[in-house]
C-alpha cells in the first residue's frame, strides 16, 4: 500500500476538463496530487514509473474517448495487471450511449460517469469520489 502522498491519475487529453477537476479538488480542500496523462501511453508510463517507486494512485479517471488509443484499451491493460487491477477506476465520457456504460463495466471499470457541464456538478463529482471510492481524496 502507498506510503507517500496519494495521487489521482487522470488520463484526459482535454486540458479544460483536467483543470476544472483540479480546481474542484482544491475547492474541496483536498491535498491529493492530480497527475494528468494526455494519452494512454503516457498514463501507462507514469503508472509503471510510479509503481517502481512504490507509489500507486488511489483513483484512476479515464476519458473514454481519448484519441489514438481508446480508453477501453487502457481498462483492459489495468485489469490484466495485478498491481493496478484493484485501484478504483472511473470512466468519464460526455456520451450517454447506454452500451458504452455497460461495456465499460463489463471491461472492469468500477463506475461510469458523465462529464459535468457546470461548476457545481464538478464539485458534486469530487464529493462522490471522496465519500465512496477514495476517502483519502
Amino acid at each position: 500500500m502507498p506510503t507517500s502522498e496519494p495521487f489521482i491519475l487522470m488520463v484526459e487529453d482535454n486540458r479544460g476538463d483536467a483543470l476544472l477537476f483540479q480546481e474542484a479538488l482544491r475547492e474541496r480542500g483536498s491535498s491529493v496530487r492530480l497527475v494528468v496523462a494526455r494519452s494512454v501511453e503516457e498514463g501507462t508510463q507514469i503508472l509503471t514509473q510510479m509503481a517502481a517507486d512504490g507509489e500507486f494512485p488511489c483513483l484512476i479517471l479515464v476519458d473514454l474517448h481519448i484519441p489514438r488509443q481508446d480508453g477501453r484499451a487502457f481498462l483492459i491493460l489495468l485489469g490484466s495487471d495485478d498491481r493496478f487491477a484493484r485501484i478504483p477506476t472511473i470512466m468519464l465520457s460526455s456520451s450517454q450511449r447506454e452500451f458504452d456504460r455497460e461495456e465499460c463495466l463489463r471491461l472492469g471499470a468500477d463506475s461510469f460517469q458523465v462529464k459535468p457541464s457546470d461548476w457545481l456538478s464538478y464539485l458534486a463529482l469530487v464529493d462522490s469520489f471522496k465519500s465512496y471510492w477514495a476517502p483519502s481524496v
Partner: protein
C-alpha cells in the same frame, strides 16, 4: 342385266346422283333369284350390285362399300355362312350389315349360327317384298345417316385445322411484333428454326441458315448455360430467367429466357424456347440496386458523422458553461450585477446550444429502423405529462384527456411527439386566459387520428405548413423558448410510422394538432 364382274350402278331418274347413291350387294348363285330380288328392290333409291358366288362377292367388296349385303345361305362351293365369315374378317366390311336369305325352314341352330357369324337379319324365302324392302330401307337409312355424320365430322375437322392455322399465324406475327424471339433447337443447342424477332434480338442476318448457329455461342458465361440446362433436365422447363448473353457482333445484352424440353411422336428431343431482350430493364434494376446500396452506405456514414460531430461540438460548450459557472462562483464577489448578467448570457447560450445539438442529433437519427413494439399511448401520455408537470402546474392548465389506443411503433418517438405537442400547447398560451389542453383519438381509415388542441395564441394561416420545417420559428427567441426543431421532430417521428401530421388553427383562439398513426390490426 349386269354382268357379275361389273359394279356398274343402275341409273334411276329423280334419285341421288350417280356415285353418291348407297350400294346394296346381292349374292345368289341362281340368276332367277337375283332377278326376283332386283325386282323387289329396284324401286328404292339405291344401286344394286350382283354377285353369283361368295368368291365374286368378296372380290366386289374389295372395290366397293355396301350399305347392306343380301346373302343366300345355300350356295355351292362356298355357302352363305362361309362367305359371311370371310366378309367379317375383312376390316373394310367388318360391320357391313348382312341379311341371310334362306329357303329352308329356319331351325334354331341354323339361325343362331347365322347370327354368330355376324348376320343382322334373316329373310325366309319365299321373300315377302314389302318386308324385304322395309328391312333394306332401314339399313339404307342407317348407312346414309352414318355417311352424313362422317361428312360432317370431316368438315368440322377441316374447319378446326383451318382455325388452328390462323391462330398460329396470328400468334407468330404477334410474337414477332412484340419482339419475342421464338426458337427450336436440339438438346445440344444447334438451332433448328427461329422467328424473325429472334434473329433481330441477336443481330443475326435473317438470310443466315439457322443450322449454322449453336445457342451456346450466345452465352457470355458457359456456366450460366450449363446451369440452365441442368434445370431444364431436372424440371422440364426454365421460366423467365435473366441471363447475360451477347449478340452476334459480341455486344452484350440481358435476355429473359424461357425454355421447355419437348419430345415429338418419334421420341426425338427438342428444346423450344422464348427469349426477350430485357437489357434496358435489367440495367435500370442494377443501377437502382447500386443506388440503394450507396444510399444505405451514405446514411450510415451520415449517422456516424452526426454522432461524432455532435459529440465534438458538445465538448467546447461544456467548457464554456463549466468555466462560466466557475467564474461566477470564484469571482462573484468582485463582479457587479451587470457582469453577472453577462455571464448569465454566456451560460444560457451554451445551454441553448447543447439542447440544439441534442435535438439535431435526435432529428437525424429518426428514420433509422428502430424496434417496433406495442405502445400504450395512455402510458406515454402519462409520462409526457409527468415530465411537463412543473410547466402544467405553473400555468394552471386545465387538462382533458380521453382514452387513447394502443398502437404499434417506437415508444420513445411516440413519447417525444406527445411531449412536444403537449408542451407547445401550454407554452404558446394566451395572456390572461387559463390554458386548456384536450387530447383525444378517433379511428380513421389510415389507423388512429390523435388530436391535441389548445386555446392558445394560434398560428397564422400561411404558416400552418412551414412550422413543421426545421429551425422554423414563428416568434423571436426572447418571446418563447425553443429550438424550432420540436415540430420537425414530431413530423419525422410520425412519418416514420407511416402517418401524417397537420394543424388547424385560428389566431387568437387556439390550435389543434392532428397526427395519424397506424392501427395494430
Amino acid at each position: 342385266m349386269k354382268t357379275p364382274d361389273q359394279a356398274v350402278p343402275v341409273a334411276e331418274p329423280d334419285k341421288a346422283p350417280v356415285g353418291d347413291r348407297a350400294k346394296v350387294l346381292l349374292v345368289d348363285d341362281r340368276q332367277d333369284k337375283l332377278t326376283a330380288l332386283e325386282a323387289v328392290l329396284g324401286g328404292l333409291d339405291l344401286d344394286l350390285v350382283m354377285a353369283k358366288s361368295g368368291k365374286e362377292a368378296l372380290r366386289l367388296l374389295l372395290a366397293n362399300e355396301f350399305a347392306v349385303i343380301l346373302l343366300d345361305v345355300s350356295m355351292p362351293v362356298m355357302d352363305g355362312f362361309e362367305t359371311a365369315a370371310l366378309i367379317r374378317q375383312r376390316k373394310s366390311s367388318e360391320h357391313t350389315p348382312i341379311i341371310f336369305i334362306t329357303a329352308m325352314s329356319a331351325t334354331e341352330t341354323h339361325v343362331s349360327r347365322g347370327y354368330s357369324l355376324g348376320a343382322v337379319d334373316y329373310i325366309f324365302a319365299p321373300v315377302v317384298p314389302e318386308m324385304l324392302r322395309a328391312k333394306v330401307s332401314v339399313f339404307l337409312d342407317l348407312f346414309r345417316k352414318s355417311r352424313e355424320v362422317e361428312r360432317r365430322a370431316d368438315a368440322l375437322r377441316h374447319e378446326a385445322e383451318l382455325r388452328a392455322e390462323q391462330l398460329e399465324s396470328r400468334l407468330e406475327s404477334l410474337l414477332n411484333r412484340l419482339n419475342v424471339g421464338v426458337f427450336r433447337s436440339t438438346p445440344a443447342g444447334d438451332l433448328i428454326n427461329a422467328n424473325p424477332a429472334f434473329m433481330r434480338i441477336f443481330g443475326i442476318n435473317p438470310s443466315v441458315n439457322p443450322a449454322t448457329i449453336n445457342l451456346g455461342q450466345l452465352y457470355i458465361r458457359q456456366q450460366d448455360r450449363s446451369e440452365l440446362l441442368a434445370e431444364l433436365r431436372r424440371t422440364g422447363r426454365v421460366q423467365e430467367r435473366h441471363v447475360r448473353q451477347h449478340r452476334i457482333d459480341h455486344s452484350p445484352i440481358w435476355v429473359s429466357l424461357s425454355k421447355t424440353l419437348v419430345v415429338d411422336s418419334k421420341g426425338d428431343e427438342f428444346i423450344d424456347g422464348m427469349v426477350e431482350d430485357v437489357t434496358v430493364r435489367k440495367e435500370a434494376e442494377i443501377a437502382l440496386i447500386a443506388k440503394a446500396e450507396e444510399l444505405a452506405r451514405s446514411n450510415a456514414e451520415l449517422e456516424e458523422f452526426a454522432y461524432i460531430a455532435s459529440h465534438d461540438l458538445q465538448e467546447p460548450l461544456r467548457m464554456v458553461s463549466s468555466y462560466s459557472s466557475l467564474l461566477e462562483a470564484r469571482y462573484g464577489s468582485v463582479i457587479d450585477e451587470n457582469g453577472k448578467m453577462f455571464l448569465g448570457q454566456v451560460v444560457d447560450s451554451a445551454k441553448r446550444m447543447q439542447t440544439l445539438i441534442r435535438d439535431i442529433l435526435t432529428y437525424s437519427k429518426l428514420g433509422r429502423g428502430s424496434e417496433d413494439s406495442l405502445v400504450d399511448c395512455n402510458e406515454m401520455l402519462e409520462r409526457a405529462h409527468f415530465n411537463l408537470q412543473p410547466l402544467f402546474t405553473e400555468a394552471n392548465v386545465e387538462f382533458h384527456r380521453e382514452h387513447l389506443p394502443t398502437i404499434r411503433g417506437d415508444p420513445v418517438l411516440i413519447g417525444q411527439v406527445l411531449q412536444n405537442l403537449l408542451g407547445n400547447a401550454v407554452k404558446f398560451r394566451r395572456d390572461g386566459v387559463r390554458p386548456r389542453v384536450d387530447i383525444s383519438a378517433k379511428r380513421v381509415a389510415e389507423g388512429w387520428e390523435f388530436a391535441i388542441s389548445d386555446n392558445g395564441i394560434g398560428i397564422p394561416g400561411d404558416c400552418l405548413e412551414r412550422i413543421f420545417h426545421v429551425f422554423h420559428r414563428l416568434h423571436g427567441r426572447d418571446e418563447y423558448e425553443g429550438t424550432g426543431i420540436g415540430l420537425a421532430i414530431c413530423r419525422k417521428a410520425v412519418q416514420r410510422h407511416g402517418g401524417t401530421i397537420r394543424v388547424e388553427s385560428t389566431v387568437g383562439q387556439g390550435s389543434t394538432f392532428y397526427f395519424t398513426l397506424p392501427a395494430t390490426d
